[in-house]
């Protein structure tokens, strides 16, 4: 869950239509129409990245009249499906996938079960990436991949399909880096040995 207090805004007159705000928006809230950004306030998670990116310095954040609370409640979706997805991806339910918003793995999985089909829709549904926007991406992409979603990277380098996990490393890699505590870490983070490599064949 994230509480979003800010929303992006901009001055249309000097906007050059460079699209950089659209490209860096993590939640798909900005769409270009007639070479101007159109901001969907319902999708804006208030990260401010567009403001920082704007080369003309004509974007800013304003306070929402009421905070937007983004969350997918566990009761909204089939919990068995959530558990199965987490297990397939090898993501712990309680893991704070997004450490800025404390969005747990279970909520990310729930958003996918509820219908999110790509990273932008997961962000809009959960508020994930409204903070630093960096460290939560791979677990979310892995859950999307495990759910069979299309992992073709979108245009404009919005994201790339990196989903590698500790559980995917081959015996060859383990042998090449014997001092990397791979087996030891697997035992720590998966004490019940329920996780394994993400099967590509199922997708």
């Amino acid at each position: 869950m994230a509480t979003i207090k800010l929303v992006a805004d901009y001055n249309a007159d000097p906007c050059t239509g460079c699209k950089l705000c659209d490209i860096v928006c993590p939640s798909g809230a900005i769409k270009m129409e007639a070479r101007k950004p159109v901001i969907d306030e319902a999708l804006c998670i208030g990260c401010g990245r567009c403001v920082d990116r704007c080369p003309e310095d004509i974007m800013w954040m304003i306070q929402r009249s009421e905070p937007l609370v983004t969350t997918v409640h566990p009761d909204e979706v089939d919990q068995e499906a959530v558990t199965a997805l987490l297990e397939k991806a090898g993501i712990e339910a309680a893991m704070s996938v997004c450490v800025c918003t404390l969005t747990p793995g279970s909520e990310i999985a729930a958003s996918i079960i509820k219908g999110a089909k790509n990273l932008e829709e997961v962000c809009a549904a959960t508020g994930m990436r409204s903070g630093c926007g960096i460290y939560c991406v791979a677990p979310a992409l892995r859950l999307l991949e495990a759910a069979g979603c299309d992992m073709t990277p979108p245009g404009q380098h919005r994201w790339y399909p990196s989903t590698l996990s500790l559980y995917d490393l081959s015996d060859e890699v383990c042998a090449k880096y014997p001092d990397a505590y791979i087996e030891e870490d697997r035992a720590v983070f998966d004490p019940e040995h329920k996780y394994g490599p993400l099967s590509k064949e199922i997708l």
Binding site: S96, G133, I134, C136, V173
Partner: protein
């Protein structure tokens, strides 16, 4: 100047990401002292610079000389006169001792490469963390545009990527970092988040962080433990993509005392072994000394994000996360994004840290993590700074919990009263000494001999053996 007079820290760069420059704690609170680290650990060797303005000009001459001395031994035959070369620099280096020593090393690298190889197409690529304007600020402040004749560009995790095939599978680096035929890894060895990197192949970290897209950074931090994560930067460094372009590394070497020299060679693994040994001996002692602090209030007082502000050569994050010995690789779980389901660690909370007073620090980047103001009382000095935090989109709940105070004195008084502590520690960018109050100075001086003995006789041999460095 009395040795224990509070010392004004190295000057830092003004940034749009921080508040207007404020008077430092050392200038504001008369009872503060600056204890030379040699009073804790007499065997700490002197540094060639700790970044203080009084001697900075002469100090930078020494950095320049050390860089030239080290580069003189480097094989640069992989660089042809017709090549284009990117010097890759990382943002945090400009937060070390005001940033000038790192900047001087970078400028000297360029000069020497031109002299030795005849190559003149040398570009600076400044890797930044999150803010798109950070690189412009750094380039202007440190005179890089002039020094590199305009061949300066920033790069960040959101920039266009390039797919790199590695032994662990495809990873994504930032295309602009590698848009020349060759590159130089211009690094610094600040252990910084030792609780994340565990000093396990730390010298390679840039290859999965500064030079990498955010997806790769996420894989490193969130999909692995903080020991096994060391596979990712090494797999990238060992990849054909990197090895075809890599020329040599030049690393600004530090201890908690300050800059001690420059280590340059083509063999990054050799540099890493030397740095790791030095760090365990020096930063290891300071880390364990910080672990002796059972109650204190910390003051953020510098020009970087709060977690990354230095005091006594260690970042605030080290104090926050010293729940356990980060260097002991037998400890499976220290602080990390990937959490053990049976033994999770809240790396945003340390019960010994009773409060944080923010005199000045950058906003943004999700720092502090959203949990910290919920578990640690925070006091923001001044309404103007408070407004910056309110408008920080990366931490929307902080100001719901933090208290705005009129003055540093008021914040300190409130934090100490609420936290039931009389000990203050300052993170203001200082190396070579620790600025704190007398109560904490007395405690640390009393505990240091035992820490020194414990590290020297028990911990250091174990740490080294775990890394094959005995």
């Amino acid at each position: 100047m009395n040795a224990h007079t509070a010392i004004k820290p190295p000057a830092f760069m003004h940034s749009d990401y921080g508040p207007a420059l404020q008077p430092h704690v050392s200038e504001t609170i008369e009872s503060m002292v600056s204890v030379p680290l040699t009073e804790f650990f007499p065997n700490f060797a002197p540094a060639i610079t700790s970044g203080y303005p009084e001697t900075l000009e002469a100090d930078l001459e020494r950095v320049r000389a050390e860089t030239r001395k080290s580069l003189a031994l480097v094989d640069m035959s992989s660089i042809a006169a017709t090549d284009s070369v990117n010097i890759l620099a990382s943002e945090h280096g400009f937060g070390l001792m005001g940033g000038w020593p790192y900047a001087e090393m970078i400028k000297t690298i360029r000069e020497v490469v031109i002299e030795r190889t005849g190559c003149t197409k040398i570009h600076l690529r400044l890797a930044i963390y999150r803010g798109f304007k950070e690189a412009e600020e750094v380039a202007e402040h440190f005179g890089f545009n002039e020094a590199f004749e305009g061949r300066v560009k920033g790069l960040g995790p959101f920039d266009q990527g390039v797919e790199v095939e590695t032994v662990v599978g495809p990873m994504y680096l930032i295309k602009r970092a590698f848009d020349a035929t060759k590159f130089i890894h211009a690094y610094y060895d600040d252990p910084r988040e030792m609780y994340f990197n565990r000093l396990l192949y730390k010298s390679f970290k840039s290859f999965c962080m500064s030079y990498a897209r955010y997806e790769t950074r996420s894989v490193y931090h969130s999909m692995f433990g903080n020991r096994s994560g060391s596979v990712i930067p090494r797999a990238l460094f060992d990849s054909d993509f990197i090895q075809q372009r890599y020329t040599f590394s030049s690393v600004l070497c530090t201890t908690p005392m300050g800059v001690i020299g420059v280590d340059a060679t083509t063999d990054l693994y050799a540099i890493d072994r030397r740095i790791t040994k030095s760090h365990l001996e020096t930063y290891g002692r300071m880390q364990r000394l910080f672990a002796e602090i059972k109650d204190c209030v910390a003051i953020w007082d510098g020009g970087r994000w709060g977690y990354y502000l230095h005091g006594g050569g260690l970042i605030f994050g080290t104090l926050l996360t010293n729940h356990s010995d980060a260097f002991d690789l037998d400890q499976p779980v220290v602080a990390g994004f990937m959490q053990s389901p049976t033994a999770p660690v809240n790396f945003s909370r340390n019960k010994n840290l009773r409060g944080v007073v923010v005199n000045q620090a950058w906003v943004g980047a999700g720092i502090p993590y959203v949990t910290m103001p919920f578990t640690t009382p925070m006091y923001i000095v001044g309404e103007e700074q408070a407004q910056m935090w309110r408008e920080d989109p990366t931490n929307p709940l902080l100001m719901d919990r933090a208290t705005v105070v009129d003055s540093l004195h008021q914040g300190v008084a409130m934090a100490c009263e609420k936290g039931q502590t009389d000990k203050l520690i300052v993170f203001d960018g200082s190396y070579g000494h620790l600025t704190c109050n007398q109560a904490l100075a007395d405690l640390l001086k009393a505990r240091a001999p035992a820490v020194d003995k414990m590290v020297g006789e028990e911990l250091l041999p174990k740490w080294l053996a775990q890394r094959g460095l005995s």
